[in-house]
């Protein structure tokens, strides 16, 4: 810069050197590339799902049950009605079990257990549950309800495995939302003479309701896509069974079984079922997002 004489150009004196500018450009480009790389699999998965899945979709596909006749090339293999029915029933039952317990534990953690060592312990165990591999949940239920009772697979056992899976997700998200409820609301209600339980049911839960619903919907979306806990609890069957006490089909398990099949038409059915499942889960996610946007908190 001294080459410019006694009064160097101000801009040049403070300019970023070419080397630094290059490394800045390079790093930015790398970060952008990383982001694009992350989106490639999403695009590919969705493209192939639509490409292969739409071929399998037909009224027949949604209204028939798998027949089990997969051996001959042209035999009617059936569709996914029982699998859709089973997924809906099992996830509904799992939610009925997991939602009250999950939110109850969260209420306890926030309203009663605050700062208590026991609450720390419970929180830790809930975290532990979040980390348990889903197949291990299936084996837990297998040990207790199938080895333990000497019986066989059933829909309600699958639902129980799913509820174990949903429980920590619901508790964690509910706890976060409940903590966001302003303390002033609780204090005003208490100061007006309301009992604790009334404060919880009339003030805290209604204030937090949209956040709670979001958490629950996300948990349901997760449970709906799980295969591993159902493999050895609800099994799979060729007939329609709306009875939770019997073997029960579900979309993920049927997809899993179809993928392994050597018959092309069965693999096509797997693509169709996969597209159905993803659409179902995306709808749940979308609704969860819309609900959380309407939240009165935060």
């Amino acid at each position: 810069m001294s080459a410019h004489g006694a009064t160097p150009n101000r801009i040049e004196r403070f300019a970023v050197s070419p080397r630094r500018r290059r490394s800045d450009k390079l790093a930015r480009a790398l970060v952008l590339t990383g982001t694009i790389i992350a989106l490639i699999p999403l695009v590919l998965v969705i493209y192939y799902l639509l490409h292969e899945g739409l071929k399998a979709w037909s009224p027949h596909f949604f209204t028939t049950d798998p027949t089990g006749n997969t051996f001959f090339k042209n035999s009617d293999i059936g569709g996914i009605r029982s699998a859709m029915l089973g997924t809906i029933e099992m996830v509904a039952l799992a939610s009925l079990i997991a939602v009250p317990i999950g939110i109850g534990v969260a209420v306890w953690l926030v309203e009663y257990g605050k700062g208590h060592w026991f609450a720390q312990l419970v929180r830790f165990f809930v975290d532990v549950l979040t980390g348990v591999p889903s197949i291990v949940f299936g084996l837990f239920i297998y040990i207790v309800l199938i080895i333990g009772t000497g019986s066989t697979f059933a829909g309600y056992k699958g639902a129980l495995a799913l509820s174990l899976l949903m429980l920590p997700v619901i508790t964690r998200s509910a706890e976060v939302v409940l903590l966001l409820v302003p303390n002033a609301l609780r204090e005003s209600a208490l100061a007006l003479g309301a009992e604790r339980w009334k404060v919880i049911f009339r003030i805290v839960l209604p204030t937090a309701v949209s956040g709670l619903v979001t958490g629950v919907l996300l948990a349901i979306a997760r449970a709906a896509g799980e295969t591993a806990p159902l493999l050895f609890t609800s099994g799979a069957t060729n007939k329609t069974s709306s009875n939770l006490g019997e073997f029960m089909n579900s979309l993920p398990v049927q997809i899993y079984n179809d993928v392994i099949s050597p018959t092309q038409s069965v693999v096509n059915r797997a693509w169709g079922a996969a597209l159905t499942l993803v659409v179902l889960i995306l709808i749940l996610n979308l609704v969860a997002r819309l609900v959380s946007r309407r939240s009165r908190l935060a």
Binding site: T33, V126, V136, L179, L218, A219, A274
Partner: protein, 345 residues
């Protein structure tokens, strides 16, 4: 509050009758019971799992089971080393490929991207978590694995001098594909946590760096990354925990070869995959060995998750201290929300 503390009367007029106080107590103890029930449930499951795994452990020994390289169902030898190693290889591959990309997405979203596309990109990354495991498996085995095979073979031939990578024939299902699928699956959670941690970097730090003349990247290097290191490490470990336990997608793309097979592009097996594949037909000692595999898996994920939680918790705590203590928990709570959302989605 005690009735006796009020001189002259037996009960304060403001105090509720025991009957009116009942619902409060019932709710309180009911909920406490519920919380205790979760603890009891986990302990109960753990004990039962140990009980079911005992015959296999009795035959092979706990260490023998975990560290012997011999999984032979027909002759009833159950040494799970190939499965443990397979689990570790695929998970570490997932971290190696997934974490840099996840951190890049988080950096792009929090620091570099135009405001308008911030929300859409965040949603797209989170959509990756909405795809079920079995769908990744389906896509992996019918699209990804066959399409990648020629490229893998090329790499294997070119790098044949490096042990564990080069040489050998590339099979369609292999460790690498499994690791790649896992990398895609852990990306959303690692990205979500990194993003949350990056959002906690004080504006002052960033402005100070920029004010001293740093370029964007230098600002990220000086102010953002050091501040977020622990958080990113913790998030990656949570991702590791998920990768270790992931079952169905891996089962479909790893082949089923329970032996330590020389290199990266050959078929393998993982703990979770062996359970999903073999449990249906297993009886007797074989079934017990699979329960033992589940126990090893359970303990492994437990350790990884516990350490990850501690790291994330410490990162959040050290972050909150220099700031106003009144805001203490709120930051980590928001991070928690993002994290549970990423898990749930």
């Amino acid at each position: 509050m005690e009735a006796a503390s009020i001189p002259g009367g037996d009960r304060s007029k403001l105090e509720r009758s025991p009957l009116a106080r009942f619902p409060d107590r019932a709710l309180r103890y009911g909920l406490t019971l519920l919380a205790a029930l979760i603890l009891a449930l986990i302990v109960f499951f753990f004990v039962r799992l140990v009980g079911e795994a005992r015959p296999a452990f009795a035959k092979e020994g706990v260490l023998g089971f975990t560290f012997t390289n011999n999984w032979d169902v027909s002759s009833e030898h159950f040494g799970a080393l190939p499965l443990v190693v397979g689990t570790l290889i695929t998970s570490v591959l997932a971290l190696l490929m997934g974490v840099p990309v996840a951190v890049a997405t988080a950096l792009y979203i929090t620091e570099l991207c135009p405001r308008r596309i911030k929300a859409p990109i965040t949603i797209l990354i989170e959509l990756l978590a909405a795809v079920p495991s079995v769908v990744y498996g389906l896509w992996g085995i019918f699209f990804l694995a066959p399409k990648l095979q020629p490229a893998e073979q090329w790499v294997a031939n070119k790098l044949s001098f490096i042990p564990f990578i080069g040489g050998g024939t590339v099979t369609i299902p292999n460790y690498f594909v499994a690791g790649l699928i896992l990398a895609i699956m852990i990306l959303p959670i690692v990205s979500a946590i990194s993003r949350e941690v990056m959002a906690t970097v004080p504006l002052d730090h960033k402005e100070a760096a920029l004010g001293l003349g740093a370029t964007r990247w230098e600002m990220i290097r000086i102010a953002v990354l050091p501040y977020c290191r622990t958080g990113i490490v913790g998030g990656s470990m949570l991702g590791l925990g998920r990768a270790i336990g992931e079952t169905i997608a891996v089962t479909l793309v790893i082949g089923d070869a329970p032996q330590l097979s020389g290199h990266l592009f050959s078929q393998g097996y993982t703990l979770a995959a062996v359970i999903a594949n073999e449990f249906g037909e297993a009886t007797g000692l074989h079934r017990s060995a699979l329960f033992a595999a589940a126990l090893v898996l359970f303990v492994l994920t437990l350790l990884v998750n516990a350490v990850a939680r501690l790291v994330v918790m410490r990162a959040n705590r050290s972050r909150n201290q220099p700031r106003q203590s009144g805001l203490g928990g709120s930051r980590s709570n928001v991070a928690d929300l993002a994290e549970t959302a990423a898990m749930g989605a």
